[in-house]
C-alpha cells in the first residue's frame, strides 16, 4: 500500500496530514521535525497542532483497589442475578393466580381457562386497550403479540415490509412518550424500532419481483422519511434521555441510505431524486439548528448530509458508468447541489469560527459531487469527448451499493480538474470559510476552468446556465 508520505504531489487535507503525522510520531517512525519537513508550506500550522498532540500522554495506570474490585464484582453479579430472577418471577407470578405452588394442576387449569378467555377477547377489548400501552406496561406484550399475529397472517413480503415499518413508527411514538420519564423503557422502544427495521429489511431482500421491489422500496422510503422527521422532532424537544433518541435518529438515516442503495439498483433516477431531496432536507435542518445556536445537533445533521452526499455521488457514478439516465441525474444533481451550496453559504455566514470547519467539509464534498456531475454534463456539450469515458478514476464500474464506507472528501483525492482544496482555516482563516470557490469551473462552461477562490461564496450560482 502506498504510504502517505509517498503521495507526493497529491493534495492532502490538513486533517489527514495531522492524523498521519501523529500516528507516525506515536509509533516512532518519524519525529516531529521530520513530519514538519515533509510539509514545509504547512509547517507552522502543523507544528502547533503536533505539539499539542505529543503533549497528550497516557495517564498512569489507575486501578480499582483489588479488594474493592472483588466486592464490587460480587455485588454486580448479584444485582444481575436478582434482576433476572425478578423478571422470571414476575412472569411466573402472572400465571400463579395466587394459588400455592403445590396446586400445580389447579394452576394449569386456571391458566388454560384464562388463556382461552384472553384469546377470545383479543379481537376486542384487550387488544384495543393494549394499543396505547408502552414498553414495561402489563398490556405491552399483548400489543407486540397482536403485531406478531398480524405479521404472521400478512400476505407476502411486500405486505410484511409495510407492516413492519408501520410498527417501527409505533416504536418511535413510544420512544417520544418515554424519553422524558424512563431511560430503560426508552431504550426498549428504540430496540424494538431497530428490530422492526431489521425485519422490514429482511422482508425487502426476499422480494424477487422487480416491479414489486421498486414499489415496496418507494413506499418504505416514504415511511422512513416520516420517521426521520419524527426523530428530528424528538431530538428538538430536548428529551431528558437524549442518547436513545439519537440512536433512533441514526438508525432511521442508515435505513434511508440502505433503502436508497437498493432502489438505485432498480430505479436509479428515482433513487437519485429522493437522495438529493434528502440532502437538501438535512441542510435545511442544519440551517435551522445553526439559527438556534444548537451547533452540536447542527454538526450531527451535517454528518448525515455528508453520508447522503457520498451515496449521491456513488449513484451518479453508477449512472454515468452504466449510461443509465446519466444526463437527467447530472442535471438534477447540479440543480440540487447549487441550492445546497447556497444553504451552506448562508449557514457559514452566521456561524462562529470554531464551527466553520464542518461547513467547509460539506462544501468540499458538495463541490466534488458537483464536479462529478459537471464532468459528464460538459462532455455532452463537447462533441470531441467520448461519452464512454469514465468520469473519474474511481468511478469505473462501481455500483451505488458498494463501498459505502469510502470517504473521498477526507482522503485527499479531490484532485478533480479545477477543484481547489481550501485551507482548513487554522492559520489565518482566510475568508472565514467563504473563500472556497467552487473550483468546478461550471459557470463558464469550461471544464476545470474555475479554481479561483472567491470571497463571496461558492460561486456556483451560474452553474447551470
Amino acid at each position: 500500500m502506498k504510504s502517505w508520505a509517498e503521495q507526493g504531489t497529491k493534495l492532502e487535507k490538513i486533517e489527514t496530514i495531522v492524523t498521519n503525522c501523529i500516528r507516525e510520531i506515536k509509533s516512532g517512525k518519524a519525529t516531529l521535525v521530520e513530519c514538519l519537513n515533509r510539509y514545509p508550506s504547512r509547517s507552522q500550522e502543523l507544528e502547533a497542532l503536533l505539539e499539542v498532540a505529543v503533549n497528550i500522554q497516557e495517564p498512569p495506570a489507575f486501578k480499582l483497589d483489588s479488594s474493592y474490585k472483588q466486592v464490587a464484582k460480587a455485588r454486580l453479579l448479584q444485582q444481575i442475578k436478582d434482576a433476572k430472577q425478578e423478571k422470571s418471577r414476575s412472569v411466573a407470578d402472572i400465571f400463579s393466580f395466587g394459588l400455592p405452588p403445590q396446586f400445580v394442576w389447579a394452576r394449569i387449569a386456571v391458566s388454560a381457562v384464562v388463556i382461552l378467555i384472553v384469546i377470545s377477547m383479543l379481537a376486542g377489548g384487550i387488544a384495543y386497550a393494549a394499543q396505547d400501552s408502552l414498553p414495561g406496561d402489563l398490556l405491552y406484550p399483548v400489543k407486540i403479540g397482536t403485531e406478531d399475529v398480524r405479521l404472521l397472517i400478512a400476505g407476502d413480503s411486500a405486505d410484511k415490509v409495510e407492516l413492519n415499518l408501520k410498527f417501527a413508527q409505533s416504536r418511535l411514538v413510544e420512544m417520544c412518550k418515554l424519553a422524558n420519564s424512563n431511560e430503560e423503557k426508552t431504550e426498549l422502544a428504540v430496540n424494538g424500532y431497530r428490530e422492526n427495521l431489521d425485519a422490514a429489511m429482511e422482508q425487502i431482500r426476499r422480494i424477487s419481483d422487480a416491479p414489486t421491489l421498486t414499489k415496496s422500496l418507494g413506499g418504505a422510503l416514504e415511511d422512513i422519511q416520516n420517521q426521520i422527521i419524527l426523530c428530528d422532532n424528538a431530538m428538538d424537544a430536548s428529551p431528558a434521555y437524549l442518547e436513545p433518541v439519537r440512536e433512533a435518529s441514526t438508525l432511521s438515516i442508515n435505513e434511508q441510505v440502505e433503502l436508497l442503495n437498493m432502489l438505485s439498483q432498480q430505479n436509479i433516477l428515482q433513487a437519485a431524486q429522493i437522495n438529493l431531496d434528502a440532502m437538501q432536507n438535512r441542510l435545511r435542518r442544519a440551517q435551522t439548528k445553526a439559527n438556534d445556536n444548537r451547533y452540536e445537533t447542527m454538526q450531527e445533521v451535517l454528518l448525515q448530509y455528508q453520508q447522503l452526499g457520498q451515496l449521491g455521488e456513488q449513484i451518479l457514478q453508477s449512472a454515468q458508468a452504466a449510461n443509465d439516465h446519466s444526463v437527467e441525474i447530472e442535471e438534477l444533481s447540479l440543480q440540487a447541489l447549487s441550492s445546497c451550496l447556497d444553504i451552506l453559504d448562508s449557514i457559514s455566514q452566521q456561524l462562529p469560527q470554531e464551527h466553520q470547519n464542518s461547513i467547509e467539509l460539506c462544501r468540499q464534498m458538495t463541490i466534488q459531487f458537483e464536479a462529478q456531475a459537471c464532468h459528464r454534463y460538459q462532455n455532452q456539450d463537447n462533441p470531441g469527448s467520448s461519452p464512454e469515458e469514465p468520469p473519474s478514476e474511481n468511478s469505473g464500474g462501481s455500483t451505488a451499493g458498494q463501498s459505502s464506507q469510502t470517504t473521498p472528501q477526507y482522503e485527499g483525492d479531490t484532485g478533480n480538474a479545477g477543484t481547489e482544496t481550501p485551507s482548513s482555516g487554522t492559520g489565518g482563516n482566510e475568508g472565514n470559510g467563504n473563500g472556497t470557490g467552487s473550483g468546478s469551473g461550471t459557470g463558464s462552461g469550461g471544464a476545470g476552468g474555475g479554481g479561483a477562490s472567491s470571497s463571496g461564496g461558492s460561486g456556483t450560482g451560474s452553474t447551470h446556465g
Binding site: F62, L64, K73, L77, N191, T250, E354, S358
Partner: protein, 190 residues
C-alpha cells in the same frame, strides 16, 4: 489497538467467547469480562471525574448498563472495549448533566503509589493536569475521540466503528479537537 503478540490475541479470543456466552445470559462469563475491563473503564472515568468514589460508582453503572444492552451489542461491529467506552462516555455526560458541577475541572488526579511504599501511600502527582483540563473542556464528541485515541490507544477505524462514523469523520474531529486544545492551552498559558 493493534494486538501484536500472542497474549493479546489469546485475550481477544477469550473476550470474544466470553461476550458470546454473556449475550446468551451467562452471568459468570460477564463476571470474567468485568475482571478484564473494569480497571480500564475505571481509569477512563477517573481521568474525567477525578473523584474516586464517583468513578467507582459510575464504573459499576457502566457494567450494569452493558449487561442490559448486551443483546444490542451483538449486532454492532465494534470491539467490546470500544463499546464499553461509549457507554462510559454517556454515563459521565449524564452524570455531569444532572450534577451540574464543574469543580472536576479544578480537581487534580492523583496516583496512589502502592508498590513503592506498601506501608504508607505516597501520592504521586500526575504532571499532565493542564492537558487533562484542556481535554475536559472540549465538546463532548471531541473529548471522547481524543480520549479514545490518545489516552486509550484505539485506532481511528476502531473509534469510527464504536461511534458509528467514518474514519474520515474521526480524523476531522481529531483535527478540530487539537485546534481547540491549542486555543485552550494558549489561554491558560497567558
Amino acid at each position: 489497538m493493534h494486538d501484536t503478540n500472542s497474549e493479546d490475541s489469546r485475550l481477544n479470543l477469550e473476550v470474544e467467547s466470553m461476550v458470546d456466552l454473556a449475550v446468551g445470559g451467562d452471568i459468570e462469563a460477564f463476571g470474567r469480562l468485568y475482571d478484564i475491563f473494569a480497571d480500564r473503564i475505571y481509569r477512563h472515568i477517573y481521568y474525567r471525574t477525578s473523584n474516586i468514589e464517583d468513578a467507582r460508582d459510575l464504573t459499576q453503572e457502566v457494567f450494569i448498563k452493558a449487561w442490559q444492552a448486551l443483546p444490542r451489542y451483538k449486532r454492532s461491529k465494534t470491539p467490546f472495549l470500544g463499546w464499553l467506552f461509549t457507554i462510559s462516555h454517556n454515563r459521565v455526560i449524564d452524570y455531569y448533566r444532572t450534577k451540574k458541577d464543574y469543580a472536576y475541572l479544578d480537581n487534580e488526579i492523583i496516583v496512589e503509589d502502592r508498590e513503592g511504599s506498601p506501608e504508607k501511600l505516597v501520592e504521586v502527582q500526575f504532571d499532565q493536569q493542564e492537558v487533562r483540563r484542556a481535554i475536559l473542556q472540549l465538546p463532548e464528541e471531541q473529548q471522547q475521540v481524543i480520549l479514545m485515541s490518545f489516552i486509550e490507544g484505539f485506532e481511528y477505524s476502531e473509534i469510527a466503528a464504536a461511534l458509528n462514523k467514518t474514519e474520515g469523520n474521526i480524523r476531522v474531529i481529531v483535527h478540530r479537537a487539537l485546534k481547540k486544545m491549542r486555543e485552550i492551552l494558549g489561554r491558560a498559558g497567558n
